[in-house]
């Protein structure tokens, strides 16, 4: 499924990765990270008793690549560093994915993770930029993040900064007209420091995209017609994710869309068994958690 259109030489990839303030990890380490963060996502939502583990899991490879694969220049010690690259989680209900990544990167003490959704915890049900370092945008109402990301991207232009802005949106989220307003405007301003990633997990809240909004198809043609450079990848293949994220940085004069084919809870039985909406907005029960963690361990070769 990989069809990144601008493959890079190994050298160039290494150089790009070095830009980051965080030590960048090897592909193997990144897979290890995905394993760890996936565990955490399931554990903390089960502990909280509510939340969106499946929506978080489908995005975790991409988020891991962004924060730890040398893609984003960022520095947990300076979350407001003006030249930092930005990540905007437009599909805010995947907050757990963002939180575990930020904790892993050192933005805050990982102990906080277990306070998810508790009164007083800065780890709210949806991201609150005023309460947690590293959170770039308060989201939770779908459709708004891409416009916000575009604002950041335009600010870079005014300030002569070279930072890049990454924005993750849901496939169902693309039902929202504001997404297309932002898409059109990004094309108008030829912003090439803006990369959107569509978490194409094929499910929305009440059912599969196929049923709820088949009008979303064909998704690649839509974004092309809106003036974007489009790349389509397997969003659970770390090499493919990295390659696409590297490649889009070379695009000039056009915003870029990475359509990441993903699954809600890939390979994990409790999710795989649900063909209604792949457990949208449902945490795993303690029993399901055990099953899912075992499945995960197996997938990542962690079986003892």
């Amino acid at each position: 499924m990989l069809c990144a259109e601008l493959p890079l030489e190994e050298d160039q990839m290494t150089i790009n990765r070095m830009k980051t303030g965080v030590k960048s990890r090897s592909v193997e380490e990144l897979r290890e990270t995905v394993w760890k963060l996936s565990r955490q996502i399931m554990e903390i939502t089960t502990e909280a008793g509510s939340g969106h583990p499946s929506s978080s899991l489908s995005a975790i490879d991409v988020i891991t690549a962004l924060y730890f694969g040398g893609i984003m220049r960022h520095d947990p010690d300076r979350p407001q560093w003006p030249a930092r690259d930005r990540f905007i989680l437009s599909k805010g209900h995947a907050a757990p994915a963002l939180y575990v990544a930020l904790a892993e990167a050192g933005y805050f003490n990982p102990d906080l993770l277990s306070t998810l959704r508790e009164l007083g915890s800065p780890l709210e049900g949806h991201p609150n930029m005023r309460r947690l370092a590293g959170v770039e945008a308060s989201t939770g109402s779908l459709g708004q993040g891409l416009s916000f990301a575009l604002g950041h991207a335009l600010a870079a232009r005014i300030d002569g900064e070279r930072y890049r802005v990454y924005c993750l949106i849901g496939d169902g989220e693309a039902d929202q007209g504001q997404i297309w307003e932002a898409a059109m405007t990004a094309a108008k301003y030829d912003v090439d420091n803006l990369t959107a990633i569509l978490d194409y997990n094929e499910y929305q809240q009440t059912g599969p995209v196929e049923k709820v909004m088949p009008g979303l198809f064909p998704i690649v043609e839509k974004w092309r017609a809106f003036g974007w450079h489009v790349v389509e990848i397997d969003g659970h293949n770390m090499e493919a994710v990295l390659e696409a994220l590297e490649a889009v940085q070379q695009v000039n004069g056009q915003p870029q869309m990475i359509v990441a084919h993903t699954k809600k809870g890939k390979g994990l039985d409790p999710f795989e068994e649900d063909d209604v909406n792949r457990m949208h907005g449902e945490p795993l029960s303690p029993e399901q958690l055990e099953v899912a963690l075992a499945d995960l361990n197996e997938m990542y070769g962690k079986v003892k």
């Binding site: 909280a48 008793g49 509510s50 939340g51 805010g92 959704r117 508790e118 009164l119 007083g120 915890s121 709210e124 049900g125 949806h126 609150n128 308060s138 989201t139 939770g140 109402s141 779908l142 459709g143 169902g172 989220e173 039902d175 929202q176 007209g177 929305q204 809240q205 009440t206 709820v212 909004m213 009008g215 979303l216 909406n277």
Partner: protein
């Protein structure tokens, strides 16, 4: 939300469920009813209708603006169209669509907002409808219903479809106490008096009706007797009941799971100050968003407990006495 336990109120189903069931029933009785969903039918409970009458159920995806336009067009073609989403996404993402395509042409569209108030809890402020009453009442000619429990939500749903013109119905996510366990009086625009008392009147809507009853019980033990009104229709406001309360009890407390700005309290204060000025003290969210957390803990932290009504009542009675004596 277990308010009123000590006065014998029993926990009933969430109002969103009662709405969903009533809607499904009505769908069987009236073929002209059609429903438009913004891909949250499993949350708002319009799903019950959708499963029973798939040909009259349209899921337009996560696109609230379009949802309203489609519902309005269906109404323009003669249907009784209902559109539902989370309260804030419905009213916030489609405010201008409701104004232009529903309120201004007075089309027969029914709007239902679930996830009202802060008692949704852990999902947090982005999903909480705390301004929906202000938004819905701002539309000229609109009717705005905020029922207190499951039985009256069922009645409100029926009343809504008997009414010709745009209606907004507010529902909630948590289980709430049953207020009406036998007969359910429900007339649009007519407050239900649940308790009488001569020292002040507590005017409440939604979940806060149970809290008001509990507060009245507490006050009674202190020798303060409160009238309690279930103001299930926030618009048109039952001004006569409000003025009567002002005249006969001399002090008013309002209680709502909503911002004070533009809510029930503000509407009551406007009526009272124009027609019979007496102290009106308001319980609600004061100029703030809430946060994620356990529903009950949130209600405590943000001042929406029976105890908060009791305190407001004491202040209101105090203020009345100050005036009477002065």
């Amino acid at each position: 939300m277990e308010f009123g336990k000590e006065i014998g109120l029993k926990l009933g189903p969430p109002t969103r469920n009662a709405f969903g069931e009533a809607l499904k029933e009505l769908g069987g009785e009236n073929q002209q009813i059609v429903v438009v969903d913004g891909d949250v039918g499993n949350s708002t409970r319009t799903q019950y209708f959708g499963e029973a009458y798939p040909d009259r159920f349209f899921n337009v995806g996560i696109a609230e603006s379009n949802m309203i336009g489609v519902a309005a067009g269906l109404a323009g073609a003669g249907k009784q169209a209902l559109a539902a989403s989370f309260a804030i996404f419905l009213l916030g993402n489609a405010y201008d669509q409701i104004r232009m395509s529903v309120a201004f042409p007075r089309l027969d569209v029914k709007l239902v907002g679930s996830h009202s108030g802060i008692s949704i809890g852990e999902d947090g402020p982005s999903q909480m409808g705390i301004e929906d009453i202000a938004l819905a009442t701002s539309f000229p000619h609109f009717t705005v219903l905020v029922p207190a429990d499951a039985p009256s939500t069922r009645a409100a749903t029926r009343a809504m479809f008997s009414h010709d013109g745009p209606v907004y119905l507010r529902t909630g996510r948590p289980k709430v106490p049953i207020i009406y366990d036998g007969d359910v009086p429900f007339e649009i625009g007519r407050a239900n008096q649940l308790r009488d008392g001569g020292d002040l009147t507590i005017i409440a809507c939604g979940l806060m009706v149970a809290a008001a009853l509990e507060a009245a019980h507490t006050l009674s033990a202190e020798g303060v007797e409160a009238r309690v009104l279930d103001m299930h229709t926030v618009k048109p406001l039952d001004e006569e009941a409000v003025v009567r309360a002002a005249r006969e009890t001399g002090a008013i407390v309002t209680a709502e799971e909503h911002l004070l700005q533009g809510g029930l309290g503000a509407a009551v204060a406007r009526t009272v100050s124009e027609r019979h000025p007496v102290p009106v003290h308001t319980v609600g969210l004061e100029n703030t968003y809430a946060e994620s957390g356990d529903p009950l803990a949130l209600l405590k932290k943000y001042g929406l407990m029976p105890e908060d009504i009791v305190q407001a009542a004491r202040r209101a009675v105090e203020a009345r006495r100050g005036r009477d004596g002065g």
